[in-house]
């Protein structure tokens, strides 16, 4: 059922029965990587932040992140900042809920990003993933694994954009560097 997406792959956000989706959740989960060293069992806390930037005609008009948990129109909601990541579970540590029906008509793209607020690179993160869930029934529609992890502190995960009357999701998986979404703007723009 779940589509494991690869970089650049696009999927249409449609239900299995052909109906359009009404609400989706972008979930982000991670665990801090074990630190190798004298005290090998000691883990370091890593604070990853999920953000969603709302674009109209390639111009950012609103953003949902840990300091602005709900878009002004109420259609995109962040469930709250998680500072440490999952403790061994595979669940979502931060979620952004998008009520696609209520997204204002001029917003045509929503870009999801992940930043390392504490500055560690993704090399130190384990089992990081981003997934799209149909919020009405809890079914996972797509999952994108942050593979490997390199010397970068941010990733532009995916975008959800209007296609005709519905929406489609494109996995981007583009590494970048930055502490919050603002630093990523130059890297986001080429993907619009």
């Amino acid at each position: 059922m779940t589509v494991n997406m690869t970089k650049g792959q696009a999927i249409n956000l449609q239900k299995a029965d052909g109906g359009t989706l009404t609400a989706v959740r972008m979930g982000l989960g991670w665990q801090a990587a074990k630190r190798r060293g004298l005290f090998g069992s000691r883990t370091r806390e890593i604070d990853l932040d999920a953000s969603a930037v709302l674009f109209a005609d390639k111009q950012p008009v609103d953003v949902v992140f840990f300091r602005h948990l709900q878009s002004d129109d109420g259609s995109v909601r962040h469930t709250g900042d998680n500072l440490v990541g999952g403790v061994g579970q595979g669940g979502d540590d931060e979620s952004i809920l998008v009520d696609l029906q209520r997204v204002p008509v001029h917003i045509d793209q929503i870009v999801f990003t992940v930043n390392s607020f504490t500055g560690q690179t993704f090399q130190e993160v384990q089992n990081a993933f981003c997934r799209i869930v149909d919020e009405t029934n809890g079914q996972e529609m797509a999952r994108y694994t942050l593979d490997g992890g390199g010397q970068y502190t941010a990733q532009i995960m995916a975008k959800v954009s209007r296609v005709g009357t519905g929406w489609q999701m494109t996995a981007l998986g583009n590494p970048a560097n930055g502490r919050t979404f603002q630093d990523l703007m130059p890297s986001i723009l080429p993907h619009l």
Partner: protein, 656 residues
Amino acid sequence: MTAELVRGQNHPVSHSRVEIRVSAGTPVLALASLADDRGRFSGPEALTHPGAPSLPGVRSPEELAERHAFPVDLDAVPAAVHTVGVVLVLPPGGPVRFGAVPASYVAVADPEGTELAGYTLTGLDGETAVVALELYRRQGAWKVRAVGQGYAEGLGALLADGGLPAPEAAALAAAALRTASRTGESDPTLATMPTLVRDLGSPRAPDEAPAPAPEPPDPLPASGSPYAGTPGPAAGGDVSPPTLGPGTLSYVHPRRRPSSTEPPEPAPRATAPAEPGMPPRPVAGDADGWSMEERLYNQVWGMFEDLARSVAAYRSAVEFADSRMDRELDAALSDPRHRLGGSGNAARDTARARRDDLVAQARAVLDRDLVQLVAECEVVEPALPAAYARWDNPVWHGHRIPGENPLALRLGDLHLPERPDLRIPMLARVPLERGLWIDNGRTGSEAAMAMDTDRLRRAAMDMAVAYAARLLAVHPGDRFSVHVIDAAGAGAASLAPLVRAGVLAAPPAAGAAGVTQTLAALTRRVDLVQMALRAGAPEDLPPDVDTAEQLLIVHDFPHGFDDRAVTRLRYLADEGPAVGMHLLMVADRDEASAYGPLLDPLWRSLMRLSPVPDDHLADPWVRHAWTFEPDLPPQGSQVLEQALRLIAEARRTGRP
């Protein structure tokens, strides 16, 4: 962790002994039905009801109540039974349909009292009996499913649907309802008009077990509200309101249908049930909260936020469309290719059309949201308790002084220019966190500029009196007192109803001496209560200290105030709210301009309200400017006087 079920959803039940909890907005009968693997009832013994409350594994409550809790032992249920249904039935004589009462909530709890799963019954309309939940066997284990199947024709139809022959089903339903009204009311005269009398506050029948209420009784007279009855004139000609004994007013709505022991006829369906893909029809009380009052409060705030955000979406789309059109027009103008021929005009037309198209789309989305909110407002507004209700709400005519402090208070209405007739109640939590300031200055707003000073001042003071009356009426008799400082006596005309009814703690203080005396007394009270609270010994207060919540109305500030009095007033404004001392200023800021910036913190600490519609309030989410309009008793209405009489009466009987 309670699983909130939606209709049709199921959830495992990990315990064999569970408790079914019902919380309805009106007294209901809770029954349990036992069905076999094909969902059929085997006979009259398949239903627990007040006449036969026990079946193996199940014991359902015997009386009508808003809250029920009853045990189910799933191990003891006979093997042939595959489904245990929880059925709610509206009693005869009460509300005639579930659509007219706040949504009920049904939950399954484990023996420790933790709720495993809960379900709010939304979307009901003309139904009088409903299967709320069912516990069912699935591969040797029990699960619970949210059902929400209602029957407009009542319990008989529900039973017939389960396979009982129609006459048998009707007989069983009649027996269940008959015994319900018998066990619920021992007095035969009461039994003929069961809920009307009970809900209006007459003493409960002595043998009626108190409902297992973990919270105080709701002041919301759900079924006492005329909205709960069938609208339109009564079919049976004149109905003389029942007399409730000497000294008791009858609050029965004249057009209410006569109640009887027969099951009520279902009300006509106003609208068809929600189409697939359409939003569900709104229900009053469809929000979280411990009590119906809290649920309604949260629902109103939810509506407030939804309207703010929907309008924000619309405004941002329009703004974007405009700026895009400007950009495109600029581009069309500067493009040298358009200098010759008509292509420039075409480009401009395209830009305008694109703008209009986007605005139309945004408006369509906004209208969709507004329709939903208007519909929600229409069901919520009539269901509001007195503290939240407009003065013209009929709930005020049946109002009784409650036994508990209210959760919040309606200060007025809020609306936005996009839909001026959609009024969101502006509710403030009680005790008020900050004082109120009714601005009677003409420079405050455009609407005030257009009024002459005398009328504006009168309107502001009338508004203050209406707030005082509302606060008094929704607090228990001796839990709220009102003081007035009216140094020049200019507010006497507005204050007359309060003075006449004798509900003020003392006559309005006049002159500099009166101001000083009142402020000194209230300052002392705040000081003593603060000290007592800090010392953790509130019982050691001197006997002359009034521990009730206080409201101080200050009119014509700073007339009659010396520096010392001003300092005391600021002390009350700062320290008062924490110890139940509210300040309500009716003042023109310009008149106190002699104090310079010294008083700015005082004005800032108060919530500014205006006696005329004015858009100075911002919502906490997107900061729209909302137009505030005070809610005043309708012209010529006696509702304020009536409320004040009630208060005075409660004072007389409440205090020795």
